[in-house]
């Protein structure tokens, strides 16, 4: 196999779209050709960083409800029933109840709780229980107050200053809230232990941005009123703190 042929097949190779025979021939070429192997490694690295770090857009609050209304208007059966005026109120209520079952999430959207926590912390002037820019002060403060160790990242070199920490609640669970300041803006990082890896998902609402991810044994919500590029920069730093 020539390098030109191999390079054409690298995309399909990393996408798992090659048959076994072609895969085997390509692999043989890659063993002996550093240039093509480096090309494959670059494609794999691109895939890896995109899957790990490309933020996904979470649907906005209330989208299901609005879709539900649109579809209900389009449902020929619902229309017919309404036209016949067969107990219009009851029929409407039944249709609404049935539709709500399928589109309504079981609990309020989780980002709502994160938005609440953020707004509460600002309104009640209760941003921090322990006020310190030193993570060696903030981290031990949580000991004995929470049944898990709280990782505290130092991002001062990146312009994001630790302001302190407090206890908070999210969905009935005690969580650690770390407060960072980026320029004029306070950022709330809410975290608790959770296994597994979840990519970063971005939500918007009430003029705020929220990002959710799970990584390194912790589930995290970051909430702030910061422009999106800056918000994503801070989220990425918190997700993988520089060493």
């Amino acid at each position: 196999m020539t390098c030109a042929e191999a390079l054409d097949l690298l995309g399909p190779l990393v996408d798992g779209e090659l048959d076994l025979r072609t895969t085997a021939a390509l692999e043989r070429h890659l063993v002996g050709c550093d240039a093509c192997a480096a090309e494959r490694d670059a494609l794999l690295a691109l895939r890896e960083v995109v899957r790990e770090r490309l933020p996904l857009h979470a649907q906005p609050p209330g989208l299901e409800r609005r879709l539900e209304r649109t579809l209900r208007r389009a449902d020929p059966r619902a229309r017919t029933a309404a036209a016949r005026r067969l107990w219009p109120a009851a029929a409407g209520a039944l249709a609404a109840a049935a539709l709500f079952v399928w589109l309504r999430p079981a609990a309020p959207a989780p980002e709502e709780a994160a938005f609440d926590a953020h707004l509460r912390s600002l309104q009640a002037d209760h941003l921090t229980d322990v006020r310190s820019t030193d993570r060696h002060t903030v981290k031990p403060w949580f000991e004995g107050r929470l049944d898990f160790a709280v990782p505290v990242a130092d991002l001062s070199a990146q312009g994001v200053v630790l302001e302190g920490g407090r206890l908070d609640h999210l969905g009935g669970r005690p969580v650690a809230a770390l407060v960072y300041r980026d320029g004029r803006h306070a950022l709330n990082l809410l975290l608790w232990p959770e296994e597994g890896e979840q990519p970063l998902r971005l939500s918007r609402g009430r003029g705020l941005l929220a990002a959710r991810w799970t990584s390194g044994g912790y589930a995290c919500w970051l909430v702030a009123d910061v422009a999106e590029p800056e918000f994503l920069r801070v989220a990425a730093l918190l997700r993988q703190p520089p060493r």
């Binding site: 054409d8 480096a38 090309e39 490694d41 960083v49 879709l67």
Partner: protein, 182 residues
């Protein structure tokens, strides 16, 4: 499967709404527009639901969403939806034009932040962005992407290849593959 009521339809598509939103939002790049497009797409999907032939429901729904997105984008550009796409007007340089990369590209890519990756994906032409997202985020096969976009599999391959070349260039590591030979 209930093929007549909004309820049956809703039950079937509910697990895929998040993916539908994410694709629409990435393609039209605006919350309000994405909302309109998703509404329109779900309505279209509901109307063609009785004729849905089975198979990968997620791929089917995403195909309807991408169609609604491109209808929206072509209206926005003031151009007909059937306008030939850029990459068909300009032939793709052979991949062999990709020079041997310098060693540390993989490492450079791994050092990229989510924000920079997002900006690079946003900057892709929509047809490339679509192929790339359907492949990398939704895990669709070449065949499913080709059916969704109503293009030959070869076009999907060249779009993916060019999307990746553009991303690698934007993210600092790569040879300027998309421009070599043009």
């Amino acid at each position: 499967m209930d093929r007549t009521s909004a309820e049956g339809f809703g039950r079937a598509v509910a697990p895929h709404l998040g993916a539908a939103w994410n694709l629409a939002r990435w393609l039209v790049r605006h919350d309000g527009d994405a909302e309109d497009v998703v509404q329109e797409a779900l309505l279209r999907a509901f109307r063609s639901w009785p004729g849905y032939a089975g198979g990968n429901l997620r791929a089917w729904l995403l195909a309807v969403v991408r169609n609604a997105c491109f209808t929206f984008l072509s209206r926005q550009r003031g151009a007909p939806a059937t306008q030939p796409l850029e990459e068909e007007a300009r032939p793709l340089p052979p991949s062999s034009a990709l020079a041997a990369p310098c060693g540390p590209e993989a490492a450079l890519l791994r050092a990229q932040t989510g924000a920079r990756i997002a900006a690079a994906v946003e900057a892709l032409p929509p047809e490339f962005r679509e192929a790339f997202l359907l492949r990398e985020v939704e895990g669709l096969s070449y065949k499913e992407i080709a059916e969704a976009a109503a293009v030959p599999i070869g076009t999907v391959m060249s779009r993916l290849s060019r999307a990746r070349a553009l991303l690698r260039r934007a993210l600092g590591g790569a040879p300027a593959a998309a421009e070599v030979g043009s």
